[in-house]
Symmetry: C2
Subunit: 350 residues, 2 copies
DNA sequence: AACGGTTCGTGACACGTGTAACTTGACACG
DNA sequence: CGTGTCAAGTTACACGTGTCACGAACCGTT
């Protein structure tokens, strides 16, 4: 007759609010009121104390699933990241995500990070997310998110779906990095330095394509205003071999500048060029992005596009608002800005 | 009389198994059997099809919280990371965590990452984790985890608590990085190269202490066997200013070698030493750890201790076993190995 | 004494799911 | 015809929580 599910372990059953109530000699409702701070004018101070002591004594921790079921909201904010292309990211995001989780906590949400394979069908990932009934989903760069996924999430009760750092999927809000601006800033800097034949590194690593295309377009846009300027994509993988191979045939490409996608690719390529006897910045100027500390350790020091992301606190505030006002029509809420940090690797041509 | 909680949004209510049952013209139990693959010999093929179609049509996604409540297990594996010291990590972990989540999925668990501030009381973090009733918690380097936290988790039903990359807290399992071995390998290499006055970088960044102490001990252990050898801690923060300041007073320290905690600190320090006119490796040998690609781009190329972590698949398998056999007594299950990758930054002294 | 207000609690329902136990025909066997 | 056996579903309960509506005292006023 006992229908209670198996508790495999022989360990003690976790205390519930019922245990606490019994222990304190009050009803379960009272426990709930006290522990959720709704006891004002309902429960005497003495009883409150009794309940608190009982909860402490028993080591009571509320059951998030039960609370979620009853209250109709999980309090989760799910941050989706791509599971496979992370190493090529740079450490730009790890810091942001951590800070963001901390900020969310202040609003009473629990930020949780979920890796999704970019290879598989986006639908499968969206289903896994939807099962958790998150109040919001933030899909970061490279995470699979299409229109159907947004639909799945919304139908399952997620009030806000936000694309972070890339153009939002239809139906989703956006906190965009303006990738074209990144390219434009890099391009403008190189053109101002007298460069006219600009290569743009397109990483061969899977999943970075959505990133490099708009950057390439940004460089092109900057070059359009400048007669005689030429812009060309250059493929590169994040390995020493690939960089050496590219450097070996560099002179055939006839370029006097390269925007290398990010600082890590830039450092890799710059080294390979130098090893091949090509002078930086004399023969070719190199520009990266993300402004990593390590880029300043090389000689010449690496010029970089610094990308200002909206600060975590601001993003958390926005997400909280979107959760509380689910009817807000999808829009792009905030863009990043990009600035050039000019250093020796892109000094003006003679 | 309606006690159902508010659904703030005006959006349609998410479909439940009841909706699906009504739509398909069967009972809710049948839906459950079909969708969980327990229909063999219980439900006719025709009915199964009807149910599947209905679920698809309605976009039904099961409610994880409800399932968790009923089944007594959340299916979650919580990966705890420190929320504040991440940038100093290097990209070593981001790749691992992502791969690990993917592997876990194959076992039917859902890996989820949770950032915890290292500043606050460990108890608060443990409580937040325990609320989710995870089947297992994996605390990575720097995540706050003490004996009381382990106790809180176990009492709330978590069957396995695993410390990853650091000595396990009492009561927890361990998948350890052998930090002493890392130090020992670096120390042995430097001693073999004729160095006798070895500095060991201790990062000033919060939360990395537990890391550097055993490494320092490892270097000391290696030096103990070598008469005349001297080992000293050297403090350094991950900023150019700190490195320059250290380099300026370097000669007072009278050291001919330094093990710089990891490659990022090593690159930073090496650059600062060079800028101060100190020859590497002539006057001082530099060794890092993690064997990053970027370390090979500097001149001289950086010697590094490569740390082989247990592969994600293996870790996932272990965690799955610990979940299924909760009585397994706590133990250290797997250690990392460390190898020296000798390059020019630590060439033999004259 | 009757009445209204305040203080301090409790009883009971609903959230969505998984599954053991039961029902209902249909059919076969003695 | 009574009795199993089996297929195909259904009924009903439990998981742990939040909260609405409803007491039961107690106190002060008319």
């Amino acid at each position: 007759m006992n229908d209670s599910p198996e508790r495999g372990g022989v360990g003690p059953v976790p205390p519930t609010s019922t245990s606490v109530a019994r222990y304190a000699g009050v009803s379960r409702a009272t426990v709930s009121y006290v522990l959720n701070g709704l006891a004002a004018g309902r429960v005497s101070a003495a009883t409150q104390e009794k309940v608190r002591v009982a909860a402490e004594e028993l080591g009571y921790v509320p059951h998030a699933a039960a609370r979620s079921l009853r209250s109709g909201s999980s309090g989760l904010v799910l941050i989706a990241v791509p599971a496979d292309t992370v190493p090529a990211y740079g450490s730009l995001f790890t810091g942001f995500v951590a800070a963001f989780q901390t900020e969310l906590q202040a609003y009473g949400h629990t930020g949780v990070l979920h890796g999704a394979r970019t290879g598989g069908a986006p639908q499968a990932a969206a289903r896994a997310w939807a099962e958790l009934r998150p109040a919001a989903v933030i899909a970061t760069i490279g995470a699979p998110l299409d229109e159907a996924s947004v639909e799945t999430l919304k139908r399952s009760g997620t009030s806000a779906v936000v694309s972070y750092g890339l153009p939002p999927a239809p139906g989703a809000h956006g906190i965009a990095m303006d990738q074209e601006e990144v390219g434009a800033v890099a391009g403008a800097h190189l053109l101002a330095g007298g460069r006219r034949r600009i290569g743009v590194v397109v990483p061969l690593e899977h999943g970075l394509g959505m990133f490099s295309t708009p950057r390439l377009e940004g460089v092109r846009a900057a070059a359009a205003a400048c007669p005689g300027a030429r812009v060309e994509p250059v493929e590169l993988a994040y390995t020493e071999e690939s960089a050496a191979e590219l450097a070996a045939r560099w002179r055939d490409l006839d370029l006097d500048a390269v925007f290398a996608y990010n600082d890590e690719y830039a450092m890799l390529l710059m080294r390979a060029l130098q090893d091949a006897g090509i002078d930086v910045p004399g023969e070719v100027a190199v520009v990266g992005a993300d402004d990593l500390l390590l880029g300043r350790l090389l000689r010449p020091r690496l010029t970089s596009v610094r990308i200002e992301l909206p600060p975590p606190a601001e993003v958390a505030a926005l997400v909280d608002r979107l959760i509380r006002e689910p009817e807000t029509p999808p829009a792009v809420h905030r863009r990043s800005t990009a600035h050039i940090e000019a250093r020796e690797s892109s000094s003006r041509a003679e």
